[in-house]
Symmetry: D3
Subunit: 245 residues, 6 copies
């Protein structure tokens, strides 16, 4: 089988992580996976939300948004509508959970890290690219805190990355672009740590249900994809990667 854009079944799109993309953020990257481009930033604030006040522990929260012309036809701004869509909330919650799963919140102390993922261009896989990029921005921001001696180690237990897999034209494939995603009968996002464990698995067969063996094949593809993304994260982080875990 040949894929829409000539890739192999188990091949990631060309992926780049450009670090320190924004001047003012404590940590930031531009992650590009094929035509998908997401600006990820991590901002550190010296206080926590009310439900954590005085507990000596920190918090990581995420926001996600698409620029109106990140997509093929213009999308109405959520600020103009006056409300955040269900899809956006779902993605924000997913990114937040994924990152919190590798942060030692007690070691972070009474601080909040705000993760912002702003999609500049959307060609499929924006939520998984957001997680992969946001992890790097988060590590950079925490490293800065460490260099300023505000904390005595980087409070990260693991690295985390995410990739989409799906069944397209009857075949399980890795890293779906928009065109493939629109035609997939099954669509799955898999978030993993750098030691090969699962943080979150979300698979949906809205068009048609899927079998246990399809599920197994999809998980294998995702394991391969996440191993490769983890390598790209390590390169982007350079020596900072050594201070994690």
């Amino acid at each position: 089988m040949s894929r829409f854009d000539g890739r192999e079944i188990d091949q990631l799109r060309s992926t780049k992580i450009n670090k320190d993309f924004l001047l003012y953020a404590e940590g930031s990257v531009l992650i590009e996976m094929g035509n998908t481009k997401v600006i990820c930033s991590a901002s550190i604030e010296d206080r926590v939300p009310p439900f954590l006040k005085g507990k000596g522990t920190g918090w990581v929260t995420a926001e996600y948004s698409m620029l109106p012309r990140s997509t093929q036809t213009r999308k109405i701004r959520e600020s103009s509508r006056g409300k955040v869509e269900g899809r956006t909330q779902e993605i924000q919650r997913l990114i937040g959970r994924a990152l919190r799963s590798v942060v030692d919140l007690d070691a972070l102390g009474e601080r909040t890290v705000w993760i912002d993922c702003d999609v500049m261009q959307a060609d499929g896989g924006t939520r998984t690219a957001s997680i992969t990029g946001a992890f790097v921005a988060l590590a950079l921001a925490l490293h800065k805190l460490y260099e300023e001696k505000a904390i005595n180690k980087i409070p990260l237990k693991n690295m985390v990355s995410a990739i989409s897999v799906g069944v397209v034209n009857g075949e399980p494939v890795l890293d779906l672009c928009y065109e493939e995603d629109s035609n997939a009968k099954v669509d799955m996002n898999v978030i993993m740590t750098d030691n090969g464990e699962f943080v979150e698995v979300q698979g949906t067969g809205e068009e048609s249900p899927f079998t246990r063996s399809e599920l197994n094949r999809l998980l294998e593809l995702a394991e391969k994809g996440n191993r490769e993304l983890n390598e790209i994260q390590r390169e982007a982080l350079g020596p900072v990667a050594e201070l994690i875990g």
Copy 2:
């Protein structure tokens, strides 16, 4: 190991589906799984949302809400806050996708089925109970349409049910109550058809990541649970069950 409420590792809570619970709805049930109680109704409207107008196809959409005192401490009403929380939106979208996966929307014709899941009492597993109960309400409403000869077959390809599984005290268990859910390191919701295929798998290890073999064991428990729930649905539906698929 003995569970919090004395159940076996792979044992469902006592489950009842009381059909025709509401006087006016086209289809309705009260589903009880242990102390969790959800009123599910299906309402049929003779028009579709704007994005489907004139396409000759139907739609199924779901809303989910918790009564303020369904929980141990009172929850603020979303109508009073003026917005629907992210968690609610996530659940509504999940219920909608689960039911649409088994409906033949073309055969439904230009109609919308509104599914309402109102949690009267919440002791864990409200979203999966909602799906299991809502399927029965949906089938009853479609059967009514069929009896009125508005359609010439019930436009359902399969039956669908859902159950939660999780890792509690280091052990994979079936059908978590609230107490277990609060202490689970992994929490997974599994939605399946009555022929044993997967519609949706959502597993989260926010507290700690999980291995591939834990994932496999959880899926097996979910398969068993969904087989049993499907039996309970069949009993509730009686002869209507024969007209599905």
Copy 3:
């Protein structure tokens, strides 16, 4: 004259108050008046709204909502619309005032009682049924506080109940069902204490104005209805009723 459902002019519908209907609420009932069914709960919170802080006095507030399929055709959820309708606000304010009129707020201390009235099925008279049922839920919740020795008497000065009356087909009748309500030229809600005084009288002749003598006849019917409702409340409360006033 014979009424729509065969009742006498001055006859209440069959009324039941099932107490302790919800597992977690401090006080709760399901009240049924014919086909009208309302879940009423009372939740006690150990703080007061900002305008009462530090004044040593308590507060009682009410919220009212209809399940989407409590009605003959589905009603849009107020949480989905993002705002609470005028009718709902009017009813919530009415229930709150009615209950506060019999509570000794100083003796309650710095606590708020949240009353929730959720209409499961609506066949007319939901606001008056809410008041009648909510009073019982409130008394049960306060009795619990008394049993826990948090207060040394139940801070209720009187019992309170409510009933609708109206002019249907030219004749004043008691306790209108939906069908009658839709055809009434005058519609009145009368809230009374158990010693026969008025807490609130709201009569509207939108279709046509009414005379002083019609008003008098409606008040007499309401007096009879409220006396009977008060008996049903006493039975539901059992020995708790002895501790009131």
Copy 4:
């Protein structure tokens, strides 16, 4: 007993209705009752709300608002808060019902009359003053339509006015000013037609319940007050009054 401002028990405050107060409105007045001042306008629009489209009948709807400094301390604008308070909605609904009760909506034809009541200064009784003034604005606007020959009679069946009564210091009194209203144990608003029938009666004893005989005395005071207000309306309307009913 002597009242706060020296009036007799059954004496209205000094009341003036200045007609054509606004340049652009089809009908408008400034009504002054003591220090209470309300600008009332009636605007005619050649269409009806969606629920009446094509039914050949018209609609009358009302909005009510208080200027921020109409009150002793500044009130936050509802536009700044982003929502209309329950009290405002209750009053708007009351004014709308009161006026619709005397309009022949079929004879009005497919038109909407928007009534706006903006309180410039608030010293008690703003809702009843709004109704009394709005009726005159409405009649003026309909008269204009009649003069333009858009309709062949003024579609008003009766005149309508409203007044507050209450029990202050144990005594029933007519037309409460703010100071009295704050100290009233019972507060009642009574809306009547010019032939002495009741359109709406709303009496509340939040501070303490009231007896049937107190209720009767309050209704008598209200009857006297409304007769006098009706005279003032007639004077303001001049010959237009002859064309009503």
Copy 5:
């Protein structure tokens, strides 16, 4: 050239400032410029917004609103829409900046002055009339504070007024009424102190751009207009004017 309403090119409309127009406000006026009528009030609150807390300095903020029938056709209330329009926000911000420019906020102390400008009738120039009138209301309110000895001087550095100018039918004119404003190719609002300096200049040529010399001519007209308005303000203020600056 003769203007729409017979005025000279450089002639203001007849302008009146009626002071103490509202009973309860600390300072208030009704300003009339031709048919444009605005109620301006100044309310003093003994606290400041959060961003100024504890800094020993005060704040002045403004709100602007139009009555629904201030205009030729009825305008929907912003409270009903649930949001404040861009135009309104722009005007509110403009009024606030204009007044703050002449207030010594340190000398005001930790107080907020709320300025409310409510347009009763709109015939062009409502934002400039609001500024001119609001300054007088502000001065009256501060004078009251001074008389109560809460401050030992009136914390106003200058007087401030505003006027509109524009190019109508190819000719620069002073103080546009609505008819002229609708036909202007250039529209400019000029806010000045009583010693002839500029506080704000906002000129827009949406219909067609304008030259430097047109701009110069418009500024001269505005200088003349503001000098005359300043005289009218002085007269309204009487001896209070002597205490400013």
Copy 6:
């Protein structure tokens, strides 16, 4: 005097306009003025807002937003707050007016051009950079329409650009960066066409009023700045520039 960043009094920051910055938009640029970076896109939609329907004319509208970490400390998203701030609305309206002033809306036909200005990094002058960049994006989008032969000429009457000027440390300067802007006593934005006429002039002396001669000097600086920006726009547009006007 030496400026904060070493520039001359009348020197622009280094300015680059990178065209076709986004893959999907009909027209787009990234404009950089020193550290200020704004993504501008123009999207063409084949319909007009309701108030223009059927009039054969088009519309241009603009939206402006800042990424949360475009600024030195994180800014809360307007979508999360649920409302668009006054400052944002003011800027959006300004950009829209500026662009409409040079578009021949009749020649555009029944189309809407949506301009989106998303600030990636903010170091002062974001609103003027938005206008200068958005004009290029607009011209590119209209040129695309022209190339597709949907229109037979580019419906632009002129080019338009904008620059800020202000009085910093007592001296009028061109193109303020954030540091200068925070310390300016007068701040002015000047929008001009490429033939040297003014489209909009907005000057504010919130800190202190300004004289006529200061105003004159500021306008001269703005004229110089806009001439230079117009050259940079021409270079970015290349041959498309020849088709304008």
